[in-house]
């Protein structure tokens, strides 16, 4: 594959292929930043991939007290799903089990425009008739009596069309350098708004392809990028690559995903091939499945000039 060299790091002439998804943003606040984080970590737990989790979710950023609707410290989380219906189900379950339950929290819609789905609309029934509605301006809030006082949540949250599945493959000489490259890229991407990297620590080591030789298993290991199979399969790796990490990016728009990939590439290029990745590639399905294509060469040029 013809490449491009930047600071000794090869950028493959390929593209990441991404898909339309539905997303919402929630603002979780609490008495202290720590309790907001407990709720957010719980809410976004087991939400790495829509394949089996129902949604992909992550912490977008920490919010200071002066940035939240109730003047307390908070966290904004983004939740992505394949349909608005599935997203509504996931929001209700996760907020009901992870935020309603968490001491001192409150939860608010984090997007202004979009199709509304239930946030507190159904959770209010936990109040067993003691719940109270409050309409302030054009927003409705529910106050549900609980043991620490009351749980306040907004009636609905807005759902928008978004982009899921942007990705980077970081190809390195060993585990240490692969991890270092991945951690550097994730740190760069986390500085941007409107994106999450839903896998553990933002990184996935089990990149998958569609289909499998087993009928019960749909996604299976991507052998072209598995270093143990280099001599055995049609590999995408060269002999100097011994470890590969992937970063998956979900964003509220294709521009947000592109910006995260651009900054991720730039940070890995800056790290250089000695300490980080030798090569940067991306996953796609030949361009036939997903409508969003993120070409690495364009993003790499933008990252270097920007």
């Amino acid at each position: 594959m013809p490449g491009m060299q930047l600071n000794g790091v090869t950028i493959d002439d390929t593209f990441a292929e991404a898909f339309p998804m539905k997303a919402t943003r929630l603002i979780i606040t609490a008495h202290t930043a720590q309790w907001a984080e407990h709720a957010a970590l719980s809410l976004t737990g087991f939400a790495t991939s829509v394949i089996a989790c129902g949604c992909e979710a992550g912490i977008e950023r920490r919010l200071n007290a002066d940035e939240t609707p109730d003047g307390r410290p908070g966290i904004s989380v983004l939740i992505f799903s394949m349909s608005g219906k599935e997203l509504a189900k996931q929001v209700e379950r996760r907020v009901g089990q992870c935020v309603l339950t968490c001491p001192t929290t409150a939860v608010f819609a984090g997007l202004d425009d979009g199709e509304p789905i239930a946030l507190g609309r159904n959770l209010r029934f936990f109040g067993d008739g003691w719940q109270m509605s409050k309409v302030l301006g054009n927003r409705r809030f529910w106050r549900i009596p609980v043991m620490d006082g009351e749980f306040v949540c907004e009636e609905t949250t807005a759902v928008v069309k978004c982009v899921g599945g942007g990705n980077l493959l970081l190809l390195a000489g060993g585990t240490d350098s692969a991890l270092r490259a991945a951690e550097t890229a994730v740190a760069a991407m986390r500085r941007l708004p409107n994106v999450i990297m839903p896998f553990p620590g933002g990184v996935v080591r089990s990149g998958s392809k569609i289909g499998s030789k087993y009928s019960a298993m749909s996604p299976s290991t991507n052998e072209a990028f598995a270093p143990s199979l280099t001599p055995l399969t049609r590999t995408a790796l060269t002999d100097d690559i011994h470890c590969v990490m992937e970063i998956v990016i979900d964003g509220l728009s294709d521009g947000d995903v592109a910006a995260a990939m651009r900054d991720g590439i730039a940070s890995v290029v800056e790290l250089g091939p000695q300490r980080g990745a030798l090569r940067i590639s991306a996953g796609n399905y030949g361009g036939k499945l997903g409508p969003f294509h993120f070409h690495l060469h364009r993003l790499a040029s933008a990252g270097v000039s920007g």
């Binding site: 409050k134 620490d148 006082g149």
Partner: protein, 275 residues
């Protein structure tokens, strides 16, 4: 679209009352001056034309939204802005009864005082009254179940008795004093009073919020204090009320005392006040 100014020729205080229903910015502004002058209104059981009472002036020919200004002593004129749904209606002077009654949208600004049943059954839009208003402001009309049910009403002066009787939704901010029976039979919504409250505050209140900043009696025996942390709700309410400005823009961050009631009925309303 025209921006119109209707100037009342003679004070309207005495005699048979005039009914101004139908005279809304949206109805009048698209019309020609002649059509406005011949627009039919009622005085008692007689029809007459707007031009019989008002001088019709055009302020501008290309207003973006319907704008209507009324000038003069309109104390004998009722139902100003009756069920208005859009545009801006300004009244420079005093109004009669039923001002902005059933209003669903738009903006109604009064620089003087208003009579009884002001903003009764209002369901949307914004109303600002610089002066005082009479009894039953934001209440229900006789025989109707719900009072004010949406929108925002700000009264800079004082209000009479039965303020927000049967109010169901929306926000009412009163900078002056409230008469007796404020928030009587209140169903829900938000009532904030900067001044003093009369007797029997929140009698028969079922749900909703009443905030009193001025003098008030002890809560009646059908209200009971609660002692839980409701600072999240308080900060949402505080920020919402701050839009009205003045003393409401400086509400303390610490939550007020809270009493629930009227326990004689539903008991889910709340009275809030500070020491």
């Amino acid at each position: 679209m025209n921006a119109l100014r209707l100037r009342l020729r003679e004070p309207s205080g005495k005699g048979i009352r005039v009914d101004l229903r139908g005279v809304t910015p949206a109805a009048l502004c698209p019309l020609s001056e002649d059509a406005v002058a011949s627009f039919e209104i009622a005085r008692g059981n007689r029809q007459l034309a707007l031009g019989d009472l008002f001088d019709v002036l055009v302020d501008g020919r290309d207003a973006a939204s319907p704008t209507l200004i009324l000038e003069g002593d309109l104390r004998g004129i009722d139902r100003i802005g009756w069920r208005m749904a859009e545009g801006t209606l300004r009244l420079v002077g005093d109004a009669g009864d039923y001002l902005g009654c059933g209003m669903t949208g738009g903006e109604l600004i009064v620089s003087g005082n208003a009579g009884d049943f002001t903003a009764a059954e209002m369901s949307g839009g914004q109303m600002l009254i610089d002066g005082d208003c009479g009894d039953f402001a934001a209440a229900s009309l006789p025989g109707s179940i719900d009072g004010m049910r949406g929108g925002s009403l700000v009264i800079k002066g004082n209000a009479g008795a039965r303020l927000a009787d049967r109010m169901r939704r929306g926000t009412l901010v009163l900078f002056g004093n409230a008469g007796d029976y404020a928030a009587s039979r209140m169903v829900a919504g938000t009532l904030a009073i900067a001044g003093a409250c009369g007797e029997h505050l929140a009698y028969g209140m079922r749900r909703g919020t009443v905030l009193c900043l001025g003098e008030h009696r002890e809560a009646s025996s059908t209200f009971a204090a609660t002692h839980h942390d409701f600072r999240v709700y308080w900060s949402l309410l505080r920020r919402h009320l701050a839009l009205a400005g003045g003393v409401f823009a400086q509400l303390p961050a610490t939550a007020p005392h809270r009493f629930v009631g009227d326990i004689a009925v539903d008991g889910k309303g709340e009275l809030l006040w500070f020491d």
